[in-house]
Structures are given as C-alpha cells and as structure tokens.
Point group: C2
C-alpha cells in the first residue's frame, strides 16, 4: 500500500511517519456509508446541524495546541498565521451554524392555490432547497485548516445537509488524519452515522470517488491544471455532477496617478507585503500591479522586496515549480527583474521573492504568458502611459477572484471605464485595499470568471457557499403531514419565507 | 445557403417558403452586437427592463391572430392549445417584469465594516448578482411559444440583464422568424441596442455560437442525446460555460391501493388524458404509472386509450422515432400492449396512442430500456404486488422533472418510504394531480436530477429561473459613487436587502 509522506519545508526532513492511501475496498465502503447516511442526515433538524458545526468548531479550538504544531511541521506557514487560520476556520463553522438557523438559505417559497388564474389555474406550490447528497471535497495545500479537512467546502456542505467525503491533500497527511479523527469523533458524539464525515487519502481514491455515482457534487481548491482535469472527469460522467473548482487567479491591481502621488510609499509597501504574504501562496495574491509611468516607486519597491527573507514554501514540488517559473520570467524578453536574483541553498523548500516589470504594451502582446498565475512570492508591475493603454492591457487579463483599484476621491468621476473592464473579470472588486484578506461573511464572494472558478455563479467562502450543495424541490398540492417543516402552514420553523411573491417572516 | 423548411404535420405539405440558415459571417456580427450590447443593457434600470418585457408581452398578444395560425401550420398543436400557450408565454414575460421590480433577485447583501472583528477585521462588503453577459438559447420544438423564441429562457435572461441570442428550432422556422421580428421591433422601439435580442437559424450556427467566447451561458430544452452533445461542447470549451439543459424525463406516477379503490376510474381517465395531451409531446408526460396488482382498471384504460384519435406530431422525424420506439416496446418480451395497435396512413406526421403493461419485477430487470423516455403518446403501466416491489422498482427510475403520488388520507402515515425514494429523483413532487401542467409561478421548479436536467440546482420555469444568468460580485470598501444602485446607502431602489445577516426592506 502506498504511503503518503510529508516533508517539513523548513528542514527537508520527513514531517511524520506517513499515512496510507485509501485502498479501493475501503473507499467503496466509505462511499456506501456516505450514501446511506445522506437521507438520515438531511432530515436532521436545522438545530441539530447547527449543534454539530459548533461542536466541531469547539473541539478544533480545544485541540489547537496539538493541531497547530502538526500544521507547522507539514506546511512551514508559521505559528502566528496558522493560529489565525484555525480561528478563521472555526469562526467559519460557527457562521454556517448561524446561516442555517436563520433559515433563508432554504429559500422557502409558497404560492397559494389560484384556481381561477388565467391562462391556467395555479395549484398549491411550495418550494425549498434540499441537500444534494454526498459531497466530495478536494482539500487544498495552501490553507491546511481553512480550505482543507474542516474548511469552507466541508462546513458549507455539512450545513446544507450533505454527508462529506474529503480527499486529503498530499501536502499535510498527518494534520489531515488528525483533523479528520477529531471531526469524526464529534459526529459520533452527536450520535450521527459515521458516513456523515469521512477522510480519504490518495489521488487515485479522489478520482475514483469523483466518478462514483454515490457522489452528487464536488468542491476543489488548487491549480488550474489539476482542477481542469477533475472538472472534465465530473462533467464527463454518465450523470454529470456540479464541480466547483477554485483554480488560478492573477488578481489585477490598478493604481491611479493621483494615488501614487498621495500615498505611493504606502501602496508600495502594502503591495510587497500582500504578494509575499504566506510566501505568495494565496489564491488572492496580487499578481499584476498596474502603475502609471513615472511612478518613481522602483527604488522603494525593490528595497522592500529585497528586505523580505526567503520563507518556506509548502513543499518541494511547489518550490521547484516556483523557481522554474520565476527563472523563466527573469529570462522573458519583454520583462526585467526589479530585484537582483538571490539564491537560497538551505535544505527544505524555500521561496525567494521576485518582482518584475514590463510596459502595458508589452504585457498586452504577451498576456498569455505574463498574465498567468505564478504560485509563489512573485508579482509583475505593468507600467501604463495612458488610460487607453491601461484599458487595453486590462482587456487581456483573464478572469480572477479579485480586482483592485487604488485611487483618490478625485479619480472617481473618471474611473467608470476602468471599472467596466474589471467588473466582468472578477468576483470581488476592492477599493484601496489588498486582496489577500478574505473575510468570512454574509456578503463575501470568493469565486470569479474562468479560470479563477469553474463556475462563476457560486462562492466557496461566505454564507451563500451552502447553495452549491442544494437543489430546489417543489411540493404541489401536498398533504400537510408530508410537507417538510419549512413549508408547513403556520411556518413552524419561524424562518423568512416568500408567500405569493412577497417576503415574510 | 441551406434553407430550413417546415412541414404542416396535418398534411405533409410545406408550411412556408423556408428560412435560410445563418451564415457564419452574419453569426459573427450577431455575436459582436450581443457582446457590445451587454454592458449597456445590464446597466439599464430595472424599471426599463420591466418595461421591455411588458412591451414584448403586449406586442405578442397584439399579434396573436397572426402568430397562432403560423404556429398551427408548423406544429399542428391546435388553436386552443396554442392560444393558451401564447397567453402563458406573455404571462411569463410579465411575471419576470414583476420579479425584477420586486428586486430580491439581486440578492443585495451588505456587511458593515467591523474593524475589531476576530480573528480578522471585516471590511465594508456589498454583494449583488449581476448579468453574466450574452446568453444563447436553444429553442424547443414542442412549445413553439413557451419554450421557444419568446420563451422562459429568453424572458429570464432578458430579466437578468443579459442580451439573448436564440437559436431557432428547425421545426417552426416561419413562426420563429416572425416572433423574432416582433421582439426585435420592441427592442428598437425602446431605443435599446439591436444586440439585446437576435435570432439565429441552423444547427451549425447554434454549435458555433455555443463555443464562441462571447457567449457566457446557454439554455436548452430538447432530447437527452442532443442536449448531452451540446453540454459536452459547453463544458469542453477552453473557458467552460454553464449549460442549462432540460433533457428527457420519465415522470413516474404512483397510485396506492386505497386511491384505486376510491377513485380508480377518475385516475384512469386523468392518466390517459395527461399522457396523450399534445400528442404526448410534453417533457412532463407521465411515462410510468405504478398500479397495485388487482387494480381492475385494464378495461377502462384500454378503452380510454382506444378512444383517443391519432393527433399530429410536431414533425416527421419525431413521428418516425415515436413509431419506431413504440414498435420496439410492443415487441419487448417483458411487456405487453394494452391496446390493439392501430395504423394511421394519412399523409402528415401522426401519433397513435399506445399503452403498455409490465410487472414491477420485470420493470426492475429491464429498467434501462423500459424506464427511458418515449417522446409521444405512450406510457407504461407497472404493476406492483407489494410496497417492497414498488420501492425496488422506483429505485431503478432515473432522475425526472416530476414524480407524482395518487393516494388517500389513509395512506399518508405509511408513504414516507415511497417519498424517500421519489424525492431524490425529481424536482417537483405532485399529490393527486398530473404532471403535465407547469404553472408559471414563484414557487415552481422545472428541473431535476440527471437526465431530466444537466444541472439540478436550477429551474427553467418560475421566478428563480433568472438566477441561471447571473453571478455574484462583491464590492469591498467601495466609494459610494461607484456602487451599483442596489448596494448604495439608503437603499435607493427600495428592494429587500440583507444587512449584517438580517433581511430588511
């Protein structure tokens, strides 16, 4: 049986004893358990589901002292960042508990019968969203808590009433196993069937699960290449299923002349901080900074980048890929390096920050290469001579999770054309901020046009993430005793509902 | 240039002079116009969009005397049915006008800034749904108004703020051209860009448009084979787009013993009426009727079916396919015909009703064949000896738009296991009714698990159909003057919004 072994990126030494890949017989049992748990779990009350999510959050918080060192050994992301990330993860579980208690997510909608309606009579119709069934989650490497075993896909699918099978990421198997054990123990504590939550290991197990008829939807966070391959598998099934992939994102950031004038230094240091954060391994890393020609920030930028030490990357594969891509960029005829290349020869997996610069015109010509995500602490300054050049260049930027503008009050009246180019290219538009913070909130959108997501209609962070795992069901002229509680007369759950077109509580 | 020619199914004679396929140069211009109209149309006020939809409805109603005969000549569906269908279509346009005026469809969500929030501060976040861009609609043959040029996909996409390109169905080109001219004249009357609405002709034009980067989503109503091929094209694009296909649906109907006892005759005649309606060319036709053994309805059923005359089918291809499949079913070793096969030798395309019967056990064994949709006035009675047999048989039924139960008050306490098998297999569950009526309403769901839909999360009928054409965009810390009206302070549109998690108006 193949062993999945992780490495401590700070030392290059093994980070644990390894975890076995899930053999195919075990996978089949796991999927059967998930399938057979689906009906029971979906019919649990919203209160019970909320209790489960909160109990998971509490137990993870309790085990922080055990989990954070495990995560640090396998990812090298550092204790402060991992502490915040675990807190964000448990906050997220609790937010989804609130979301389901509030009840709007069911979208309960009732039309009273209208026997005399024209052109045709209308029967009694009652509609709500219901759980899709077992959900497969592909964990990410770069957020070992927030986008992994207990991350947003897991939390939102459990909130929606779906059993979850998580395919652990190869980068942190020990942490994945331990996190999975903790969540499974909470499922057992609450007397729910074990199939409500399972962790599987190994890429083959992940692919096999994805094409198994028992799996009804899948979530993924990772590379464009990997995500595309899985999207194709999901879409190519005899019975295609929704596949929500968050893939690559370049996250363009535009700085106006006025903003450079009024706070150029602040922008320069904020930018360097944002693109080197977590060794540049954020899906919202600003990969392109559009600066007006004559910005005079070059010295500040290169100093700031040179001052950032090499920091660990998640694993050797990622570090090697980053080194290769940044070397290719260094050699690209259309761009030049703003900082002298440094070498880092310590054992382990390390990322040295890079910053490149090009002109808007050259960027537009080579956007396929220069506008592609480079996973790691690297970014590209694009200098524009005019708004016309800026807009031209932005038009060749692919879909992104975010797009940012740094501007001043005086810019606002003339920014509409820039916004018109950015809006169709991003899921979140940011003013005078940096994209690397993703608040877990009702109004968050974390998903955008291809290739940043496989389906721009959805989000993987925020309250509405639950909708990915639910489908509408309408009950027509149904006997009261067979209606789900959310649709019964008198609104026994006390949730917001729409009745004959009007929202009511 | 290839001509698309329709036939009058009542006579076999040409129904008009034919319409040319859209040449590729013309298609390219149409797509460019749609693309360039997208931003302008999306930024029109909700009031303007509602006016457009209502003006379209009014003008179609005005032209009923011209349109209904055109539709009758090309489809043979009969004047009464076509009159109701046109009224339903204009009712639908007006419902979407109401939906957008009400404003909830924007899902405006605001989170006020929380600089002291833990684990991380929360910025000002404001989220709404925005138009995806140009939408391609593949018109259906069987509803020449309600699921064609001016049908639900068109109406909902226009309501969402998306330009629409409709690929006309080959079955009714003359009606399609005329309906398109009428809608385009309304677009011109309202001084909107012509690219807001276009009709294209020809299968190649449809496929070319589907893989064109200017098209951002597509809707389809038709066969499973045709829909699957288009779904694969849409999913296989370099930049995959959402493809909402409504494909084949078998629509199982279960009758309990008590229901047979109390109103067997009524059920028998209701069933025959439902499956022969519109010559059985409804996607919600009840294709399977589960009756308890000993129902004693055989004589009534076969008499009722024999009393239904042959009626026109939409075209020769459909009539030939129906004749072939019903002949295959007649010869299938596991089933027998309840009615003596009749021949219809008049010119034109005619469908003669058929009714078959089998046992639950035999159905379960041959469900792949017997449980597949047969488009036309044919259905299959499945006789069950026990609830166990019934549930077994239902478990081999594929996903459907609808599932129906005919039962009595006395059945309710014991029906949960049957409902548990039907619920994951259908988008709409009907009690003591027939699935062939699909009310246009807030709470309607017209979409279900594969193969009835390519994506069970959505509906092609009812208020929420607009959501298929919209994606969320979040504005973070944005200047007030750059926010869309729905997200501005003071709620200038007066729409329902969610603020810090709570619904408000």
């Amino acid at each position: 049986m193949k062993l999945i072994e992780s490495m401590n990126p700070r030392t290059g030494e093994p980070a644990g004893t390894g975890v076995s890949e899930t053999p195919s017989g075990e996978l089949t049992s796991a999927l059967s358990l998930a399938k057979s748990a689906a009906r029971r779990y979906a019919s649990e009350s919203l209160a019970e589901r909320a209790l489960l999510l909160r109990a998971m959050a509490d137990k993870l918080d309790d085990r922080a002292d055990e989990l954070i060192p495990l995560a640090e050994a396998e990812t090298g992301l550092g204790k402060p960042r991992l502490t915040t990330e675990l807190a964000r993860t448990t906050f997220q579980l609790r937010l989804f508990a609130q979301v389901i208690e509030e009840g709007s997510f069911l979208e309960a909608t009732l039309d009273t019968p209208a026997p005399d309606a024209t052109p045709v009579p209308r029967p009694d119709l009652r509609r709500q969203l219901e759980a899709l069934g077992p959900v497969l989650v592909f964990a990410a490497s770069n957020f070992p808590f927030a986008f992994s075993i207990a991350g947003g896909d897991t939390a939102s699918a459990l909130a929606a009433g779906c059993p979850v099978v998580v395919k652990a990421h190869e980068g942190h198997p020990e942490l994945s196993r331990r996190t999975g054990e903790i969540l499974s123990s909470v499922v057992a504590d609450r007397n729910l069937p074990a199939g409500v939550f399972t962790v599987i290991f190994g890429q083959q197990a992940g692919r096999d699960a994805l094409v198994d008829q028992r799996i009804k939807a899948a979530g993924f966070t990772g590379s464009t290449t990997g995500g595309r391959a899985l999207f194709d598998l999901a879409s190519g099934r005899v019975d295609p299923i929704p596949f929500y992939g968050e893939l690559g994102s370049i996250n363009p950031t535009v700085v106006t002349k006025a903003a450079v004038r009024s706070r150029g230094s602040e922008i320069a240091s904020g930018f360097v901080n944002s693109f080197t954060l977590g060794t540049g391994q954020f899906c919202t890393k600003p990969g392109l900074l559009f600066l007006p020609i004559g910005h005079k920030l070059e010295a500040e930028l290169s100093e700031a980048v040179s001052a950032v030490s090499a920091t660990p990357m998640l694993n050797n594969r990622i570090a090697e890929s980053y080194a290769k891509i940044s070397a290719e960029l260094s050699a690209h005829p259309s761009i030049r390096s703003m900082v002298t290349p440094r070498l880092h020869t310590e054992p382990g997996a390390w990322g040295v920050p890079c910053l490149f610069v090009t002109s808007a015109e050259q960027f537009t010509e080579a956007a396929d290469t220069l506008g592609a995500e480079c996973f790691g602490p690297s970014s590209l300054i694009v200098e524009y001579a005019s708004k016309h050049e800026l807009i031209n260049a932005l038009q060749s930027v692919e879909g992104s999770l975010t797009a940012t503008i740094h501007g001043e009050q005086s810019d606002i009246s003339s920014l509409a054309p820039v916004l018109d180019v950015l809006r169709p290219r991003a899921g979140r538009l940011i003013w005078n901020g940096w994209p690397t913070g993703v608040a877990v909130a009702w109004a968050m959108q974390h998903g955008g046009p291809w290739p940043s997501s496989t389906n721009a209609l959805h989000t993987s962070v925020g309250a509405t993430a639950v909708r990915r795992w639910m489908r509408p069901v309408t009950y027509q002229s149904f006997p009261h005793d067979l209606l789900p509680p959310a649709l019964q007369d008198g609104n026994p759950l006390g949730i917001p509902r729409r009745v004959d077109g009007a929202l009511r509580r």
